[in-house]
Each structure stands twice: as C-alpha cells, then as structure tokens.
Amino acid sequence: MIDVENLTKFYGANRSLDGVSFHVGEGEILGFLGPNGAGKSTTMRCLTGIARPTEGSLHINNLDVQRQHEQLRGTIGYLPEQAPLYGDMTVSSYLEFLGGMRNLDSRNARREMERTTDLLGLKNERKRLLRNLSKGTRQRAALAGALVGDPKILILDEPTAGLDPAQIGEVRSLIRSLKGNRTVILSTHILPEVELTCSSVVIIAQGRIAAQGTHDELLNTIERELVIIARGSESTFRDVLRGAFGDAVSFSHSGDGNKAVVPQQQAEGKRGAVAKAIVDAGLELLELSQTHATLEDVFLRVTQKMERGA
C-alpha cells in the first residue's frame, strides 16, 4: 500500500531525513513516533507530495508519489501539524469547499460535511466561523477536513494536538474505528496514543529509523526484570540474592528498603525460593514484582541510543 525506500531529504546543508524505509500494509494504522525535530513532519510532507525527497522513492498504491502525483491527488486525506483553516469560513462552508476540491458535487459535499461533523462532534458548530472556535474545535474541524471525501489513505500529523483528554479519547476511538477500512499513518510524540491506536510502529530519531515493528515486537526488544525490595540488613539482603542469582543482580536503595534488580531470564523459576530465603533471613519483603516494558521504555532506549551514536 505505502512503500518508502531510502528516503533522504536535505534542507540546504541540513540532512532532515537519512535513508528512511518502511512499509504500511492496506488497512493498517502505523504510528510514526519520534521526538520533536526527528523528521516526522518532513516524512509526512514527502508522502503527500508536498516536499520532494533528495533521494529515495515513495510509492502509494504502486504509484510513484513524485512522478504520478497527479493521479494520487484527492486520494489522500492529510492533516498537517499546523492545521490550516480559512478563518473567515464557517465549519460547514469550509468542509463543503474541501468536498468540492475533492470533486464532490454540491449534494455529496453537503452529505460529507454532515457525516464528518457528526463523526467529530461538530454538529452544533457547523454555522460558526472557524476563527471563532477554540483550538481543540478547530483541530477537530481540520481533522474533519482530512476525512471529507472518505479517502482510503489518511496521513495525520499530530491529530490530537490541542485537544482536551475527552476529545483525545474520542479522536483515538475514531482513528481505531478506521482500522481495516483505511490505511492510516499517524505521526505523534504522544506514546500512549500509539499504544492504544496503532497496529505497527516506526520510531524515528535524528532523521533515521531507530526501530520498527509491531507493538509486541518492539516491547520484546526490552528485557523484563524482577524487582525485589526488602527492609533489614543490607549485607544479609545482598548475601541472599547473590546466593540465588550470582553476579546477575544489581543493587540500589528504594525509600527505606534495599532494592535489587535481576534480569527476568536469570530469575525464571526462582521467585518463590527467593521470597522464602529473604523471609527466612529475617528481612521484611516489601515488593517482589516483574517489570513490564512499555513503548515509552523502547522509545527512550532507542532514541537515546541514536543520540549517543550521533
């Protein structure tokens, strides 16, 4: 559906993208993650044909985005990071105008306006001027604009920027509901948004791909750990755990207790025995838990690794 190969983009002497490659299958929702300035928006702009890559190729539905851009026009719903709107138009006239730009006749443009405003909870705002709306409502109007004409491909750059938590939840549900019917690339730096919405993830940092895969694949790159916290003699605590795990254990302090962290691989099948040994040694066991890697852990690890490597 969407194939990006070795995408490189220079702005003057600055390399904004460096050999970015990824694939998005039909009906997939791809989360495009990265810190600010990582190259997310530039990738989105190249995908929509607005920016021209210095090197590399982009194909959507087997059509070359640069050479066959004319055939792709109108098939992509695009929401830029700074959503542009005509402030002097009402929500309804703006959406109907965009319908016209996507070759809908006036009746269908009106129908699309009604559908998208209903979808984004803008029914009561239809007759209001866009410049008089709150930032969140404007963002929803811009998102409605991207959905006008029911494009099969949606490229959404920070779609929940400026929304309140309730509205963010609604937009996430909306994007999730598109899964299977639409191919969506969702650029964001809000990690829970990706965890809750996307089927696969690309993490970009400093213009390069830092990691990519499904949610589970990325989480599996981070090893889980067993965390043990106990109150009592520090030397006894260390002796007990060294006896169980050898040098694989690392120690620190947590509040008024001693803390030890063991890679999950080393701790496999030993949890019960370790708990008993701690209690038998006269220590007060406060916590024995297994950590769960989050996308945030993956994100921080790969982006920091990229920064250290730079």
């Binding site: 044909g49 851009h69 830029p80 542009p84 709107l85 996507r102």
Partner: protein, 253 residues
C-alpha cells in the same frame, strides 16, 4: 459543469466572500469613494459655474478627471487587497494542503483572480454614480464614459494580476505589497520618468509599456487595437507568470 469550472467557481466564491467580509476592503473603498466624491463635487461646482479651465463638455471637464482620480485610487488600493491572496495561504500551509486535493493550479488562480476582480468591480460600479449624476446636469458622451469604465476595469484586472503574482512569490504580505507598488509605479510613471530624461529612444521604448499612454488614449475615446491589446496582454502575462510560480512550488517545499 466540468470539474475545472466547478473548482474555479468554488475558489472564486471563497475569494470574493473573503474580500467582502474583510474590514480593510470597506475602509479602503469607503475612504477612496469619499475622496472621489469630494473632488467630484468640487469639479462639478466649477463646471456648473463655468469656472476657470472648464469647457461646456461635461465628459472632458468632469467625468475624465474623475476617472483619472479613480484610476489613481485603484493603484493605491489594489496591492493592499491582493497582498494576502497567496501570501496568507503560503504562510498558513493552506496552499500545501490544497496541493493534496484535486484542485488545479489554474482553477485556483482564475478563481482567486475572478473573486478579487469582482469585489473591485463592486467599487468601480459605485463610481459609475459620478457620470450618472453628471448626465443629469449636463451632456455626457456615453461611448467615452463606457469606454472609460471598461478601461478602469481593464487596468484593475492588470493591477490585480500583478498584485496576485507578487503575492504568489512570498509568504510575507508586506513584501508582496511593496513589490506590487514598485511594479505598478514603474508601469504607470515610466513614461513621465523617460520624458524627463529627454532621451528619445527611451521615451519611445517606455511609451509601449506605460499604462498612462494606453489608459489616457482610451479615456480620450481612442479605443485602438493597440490600447485594447495592451490591457489584455498585461493581465494574461502576469496570470501565466503566477501559474508558473505555483507550478514550480510543487514538491519543492
């Protein structure tokens, strides 16, 4: 209706409505109409009293000076009204977003040009009150008046095309307005500047390009092919240049 014409119409309607809801449009039109009305009344009083420099011909004595005045005011106000046409959309990213839709460059351009010109046409229509009032008080040569109105509309079209061209070149509305003023100044006053240089070849050369040479001729009732062609070629050339500027933006961001 074809997709292209439909797009033209939608952009035209948007652009016209955008101008007609802009306070600046009413402020400029109001001020210049008021100034024209005051000058007109002064000229009319002179004419009715057979004042110094007036003749019995109301067209030459009253209407033509008013046409020149309206033309001068068009020169002042058009860059202020056209500076935002593309600059604003370049700066906001709307131009980029429209590039992902099926909107053709020429539909965008003609729609914007038409919308701006129609809004200016409203102002010109208002100035038609002056020859109408004059006709009630004296004899007016209608062919000359109609020719003059069309010449004003043609010059408004040319200046609008020039203003839109500079607006398409920059994200800054101020820069667009300044360049438009410089270009219009050169077009309008090049003849006077060349005349003051006393270089015959330069005078001859600038005569072909000077707006005043061709506009003056039409306002005098001389609707020659050269004069009409000038007011056709000028806007069409700048519309083509703007289309090229829009085309060159594709995928260049």
């Amino acid at each position: 209706m074809s997709e292209f014409l439909r797009q033209c119409f939608l952009v035209y309607r948007r652009e016209r409505n955008a101008l007609l809801t802009m306070p600046l449009y009413y402020v400029l039109c109001g001020i210049f109409f008021l100034l024209t009305a005051i000058i007109y009344l002064g000229t009319l009083v002179d004419f009715s009293h057979g004042g110094e420099g007036t003749t019995v011909n109301a067209t030459a004595s009253v209407v033509r000076p008013i046409f020149h005045m309206v033309h001068f005011f068009l020169l002042v106000q058009i860059p202020l009204l056209t500076m935002r046409v593309f600059s604003e959309e370049r700066a906001s990213g709307m131009l980029d977003m429209l590039q992902t839709t099926r909107l053709r460059d020429w539909a965008l351009l003609l729609g914007k040009f038409g919308g701006t010109l129609v809004a200016l046409g409203g102002y010109l229509l208002l100035t038609f009150l002056f020859p109408l009032t004059t006709a009630m008080l004296g004899k007016v040569e209608w062919p000359v008046v109609i020719g003059g109105m069309l010449a004003l509309l043609a010059s408004a079209a040319a200046y609008t095309a020039i203003g839109i061209f500079f607006s398409s070149m920059t994200e800054s509305q101020v820069v667009a307005a300044v360049f438009s003023y410089v270009a219009l100044f050169l077009l309008v006053f090049s003849q006077s500047l060349a005349d003051s240089s006393r270089v015959t070849a330069l005078q001859e050369f600038t005569r072909h390009f000077s707006v005043m040479e061709h506009l003056g001729a039409i306002l005098d009732g001389n609707i020659a092919v050269m004069n009409v062609a000038y007011f056709l070629i000028l806007p069409v050339s700048f519309l083509f240049l703007t289309a090229r500027a829009l085309e060159s933006r594709h995928g260049k961001a």
